[in-house]
């Protein structure tokens, strides 16, 4: 591999496998005994004891460099979000390793917010959850509220979030998440929220974030927003990396693949031989 000084890697994935384990999907026969089995023979006979393993990502390797915006595409359940979470260090990998420059952050605070609290308190809570200091949150507060446009139709920010329409809630969540600057930014289909005017605002915000971030990863099913934002695309299918290359090339193949899937048999993957699970 020819490595030049001008290309600085920010994320290196080295043969990454990610496996989910799901308890209690007992193979039909007496799940109580299966559960006992599971406890007694932990690790040895996981399959027999009713633990299903879901091999979400298989042997994926890539190197992302500073200044790149990389799109992740693939059909539903192909492991895009899972891979993103592993890059962020939120999901442990089963095999292989992921090296990163600094702490990549996932754009998303949904899980930290509480529907029973007012929008105002959620802005504070979400900001703190993302690792901002109290002062930073206070400083950015007005900016976040203005950006979300929640108060355009009256004083909604002081109402509990459960009273918001789904579009309003999504806008507030995005506004909170986008308030922080990141080194390596991971975006999981955040561009499709809100009405048209909010989408325009959020695309502009993403470009702004990209300027400041070293590397941006974007998961999306919207090929247009991938084209607009990314110059390189990783295509994941069934957890395997099928293609990695310039946006146009990969998207062309991908559109052919999704366009007439039924008539065409699955083309031979270009990846190395799949790892047996």
């Amino acid at each position: 591999m020819a490595e030049h000084t001008e290309k600085v890697p920010t994320v290196v994935a080295d043969g990454v496998d990610i496996v989910y384990r799901v308890n209690g999907t007992g193979a039909g026969r007496g799940s109580a005994t299966a559960a006992l089995n599971r406890i007694l023979r932990r690790g040895k006979a996981e399959k027999a004891a009713g633990v299903r393993t879901v091999h979400a990502v298989r042997n994926v390797s890539f190197v992302a460099y500073r200044g790149e915006a990389i799109g992740l595409i693939g059909t539903n359940g192909s492991g895009k979000s899972t891979l993103l979470k592993a890059v962020a260090g939120l999901l442990p990998v089963e095999r292989g390793r992921i090296f990163t420059d600094g702490q990549p952050s996932l754009l998303g605070v949904n899980a930290a917010l509480m529907n029973d609290l007012t929008g105002e308190r959620n802005v504070h809570l979400g900001g703190l959850a993302m690792g901002m200091s109290r002062e930073q949150v206070k400083e950015r507060y007005q900016e976040i509220v203005d950006f979300s446009g929640i108060n355009e139709k009256g004083d909604f920010i002081t109402l509990p979030m459960r009273t918001y329409s789904s579009g309003m809630a999504a806008r507030l969540r995005f506004s909170i998440a986008a308030a922080k600057d990141h080194d390596v930014l991971l975006i999981d289909e955040a561009l499709a929220t809100g009405d048209r005017s909010f989408q325009k605002r959020s695309e502009a915000r993403i470009r702004e974030l990209r300027k400041r971030a070293g590397t941006v990863f974007l998961v999306s099913h919207n090929n247009k927003s991938i084209r607009d934002t990314c110059e390189r695309v990783l295509w994941l299918e069934r957890g395997e990396l099928r293609m990695d290359g310039p946006t146009d090339e990969v998207l062309k193949e991908y559109e052919a693949f999704t366009g007439d899937k039924a008539s065409k048999p699955k083309p031979k993957p270009r990846t190395a031989a799949p790892v047996p699970s």
């Binding site: 591999m1 384990r21 420059d101 930290a112 509480m114 703190l128 990695d244 310039p246």
Partner: protein, 306 residues
């Protein structure tokens, strides 16, 4: 500038792993999601202290936000609990015999015990019940169980306000010894947080712990003299060995409950406390607090696997 950079097409299918690891090492990249060292971990946790407090307060407020009476339930719930125990243990079973100031005695016991009990229950689900949060944001995971203990501490402070009213109603005089409640609470909080961290790790791996825990906790409650006086009961059973009383009184829940009673109720004498009670209280707090923290930290990188 980013737009101008053209990335040459690369075929998928990785070159052998050693090259990539070497490349990462050369540029000083670190393994994503690796466990920080213990001092680093403590520093990270300290940096998130505002999140911990904000999260616990938010949880507390959200709890009753849909109820008509709202935050009044913060005080009403512990009072109703105490009333039920008074009805059963005070009136029906007569454990109040020989215990002066039985109502303050009982209510103090119930409130202090509830603090430990709900902290541990919240701890069992701290990780397994918040996988969404763990998988979405990066923060030291110990923030969750500690935050839930803090929520219970705030809950207890509400209860203590109600307790003060009860104490005054039953003619317990205000005394300087009430100040002793503070160190007792601090020690109990450290103990609770430690145990929560332990059960949080266990619950993260085996969610079944959450089903088992109520039974363990109930057994522990009946052994801790929450609604009766251990020394009174044991003096009635003269055939019981004397070490049994000492063991019962040295159990951490009993220690913290009796300390609080000693602090607040004037008729509860120091002679009813086990010997070296403050040393016991501090020892339990240190053992559970430090031990639980280290035990939890040891598995930091595995939380979120599910």
């Amino acid at each position: 500038m980013t737009q101008a950079l053209h990335t040459p097409p690369r075929t998928a299918g990785a070159p052998p792993g050693t090259d990539l690891a070497a490349l990462a090492a050369r540029h000083g990249l670190s393994v994503s999601g690796a466990r920080p060292t213990l001092p680093q971990y403590v520093r990270q946790l300290w940096a998130r202290r505002h999140f911990i407090t904000a999260f616990s307060t938010a949880k507390l407020t959200a709890q009753y936000s849909q109820a008509k009476l709202g935050q009044v339930w913060q005080v009403l719930t512990p009072l109703l609990n105490a009333a039920v125990y008074y009805l059963i243990f005070g009136k029906l079973m007569g454990t109040s015999r020989g215990v002066p100031d039985f109502v303050p005695f009982l209510v103090t016991g119930v409130f202090v015990w509830t603090f430990t009990q709900s902290s541990i229950m919240a701890g069992t689900r701290a990780i397994s019940g918040h996988l969404g949060l763990v998988r979405a944001l990066h923060f030291p995971r110990a923030a969750l169980p500690i935050s839930f203990c803090l929520q219970q501490l705030q809950q207890l402070l509400f209860s203590m306000a109600a307790l003060v009213v009860i104490l005054l109603c039953f003619g317990v005089p205000v005394a300087a010894s009430w100040l002793l409640a503070l160190p007792a609470l601090v020690l109990q909080f450290a103990f609770n947080a430690g145990v929560s961290l332990v059960v949080a790790r266990m619950g993260a791996r085996t969610p079944d712990i959450a089903q088992l825990m109520p039974f363990l906790l109930r057994t522990w409650m009946y052994a801790s003299g929450v609604m009766f006086s251990i020394s009174h009961i044991m003096s009635r059973h003269t055939d019981a060995p004397s070490w049994l009383t000492s063991v019962l009184q040295a159990n951490p829940a009993a220690v913290y409950i009796d300390l609080m009673r000693f602090a607040l109720i004037d008729s509860f004498q120091g002679s009813q406390l086990p010997p070296h009670v403050w040393a016991l209280a501090a020892g339990w707090a240190l053992l559970a607090g430090a031990g639980g923290f280290i035990y939890f930290w040891k598995a930091e990188e595995t939380y979120g696997r599910g």
